[in-house]
């Protein structure tokens, strides 16, 4: 199982997340798609770190990605709740105030 297999899988997972973010209009599912994309990046970092295991740089970077993703999820869901209070829906098509 070469490193290319991991990279191909990570690109497929990133594509799944990107497709979900672009095609869905449910804000919750869009936030979950962002988590999918962040996770696929971690796979790439760990695979390259396994190729060059003399240091832990890739794993340290993946650690920070996990921490930032947790912060992003917390703030994103808080924004979702504030948005729901105003609009009574979480459809992102309803967020059109700045359009006009």
């Amino acid at each position: 199982m070469g490193v290319g297999t991991y990279l191909a899988l990570a690109s497929v997972l990133f594509g799944i997340g990107a497709a979900g973010f672009l095609t869905r209009r449910n804000m919750l599912i869009q936030l979950m798609s962002i988590e999918l994309m962040l996770n696929s990046v971690n796979v790439v970092l760990l695979a390259f770190n396994r190729v060059n295991p003399g240091n832990h740089d890739g794993q340290v970077f993946a650690f920070f990605v996990i921490a930032v993703a947790a912060a992003e999820a917390a703030v994103g869901l808080a924004i979702l709740i504030a948005y729901y209070r105003i609009k009574k829906t979480i459809d992102t098509d309803a967020a059109s105030l700045l359009k006009y």
Partner: protein, 167 residues
């Protein structure tokens, strides 16, 4: 001749892709959250094949233990409105974005699939709590402290944003 690592990789890859597809295609957000949970747990198993034991544990703790539970809490808080109805119209932009994404992913993944580098020989403490902990606390101490401030700011910001405005 298939090694246990290969079997684990193939199993977790299949479950990760299935979980991701369930996440983006589910009508009900709770099913999407369960798909995300499957995806995250199988990725934690895949981290084990890459000798990242501490990160596999962190993945389970932070993602499966905290992020997915946060999603489920928000779904429960919002209630029936968390299910957005079927998408109407806008077929052009949706089809176009899906097609572009699939094209890019096919191009990138097929060109990467045969890229190969020899795996290095990991040292005794590669990926363990001791090895990764030493790397974080010696080489990345300042970013580590900055991340703790980031998390604190995120907590305060989340409370400030989500708080009810009624006095």
């Amino acid at each position: 001749m298939t090694s246990p690592g290969t079997i684990l990789f193939v199993t977790t890859a299949i479950f990760a892709m299935a979980g991701g597809l369930v996440t983006i295609s589910a009508r009900r957000p709770l099913r999407a959250a369960i798909g995300l949970l499957v995806h995250i747990i199988s990725l934690a198993g895949m981290f084990l094949t890459l000798d990242a034991q501490l990160l596999a544990a962190l993945q389970l703790l932070v993602y499966a233990g905290a992020v997915v539970v946060l999603f489920v809490f928000v779904i429960m808080l919002i209630g029936p409105a968390s299910e957005v109805g079927p998408i109407e119209g806008r077929f052009a932009s949706r089809t176009l974005s899906l097609a572009v994404t699939i094209a890019i992913v096919l191009a990138v993944s097929t060109s990467l699939a045969y890229f190969d580098l020899p795996w290095g020989a990991p040292s005794e403490d590669f990926g363990t709590v001791e090895g990764l902990g030493m790397a974080i606390y010696s080489k990345a101490l300042v970013p580590f402290e900055v991340v703790s401030i980031t998390l604190l700011v995120a907590i305060v910001g989340a409370v400030a944003i989500a708080r009810s405005r009624t006095e």
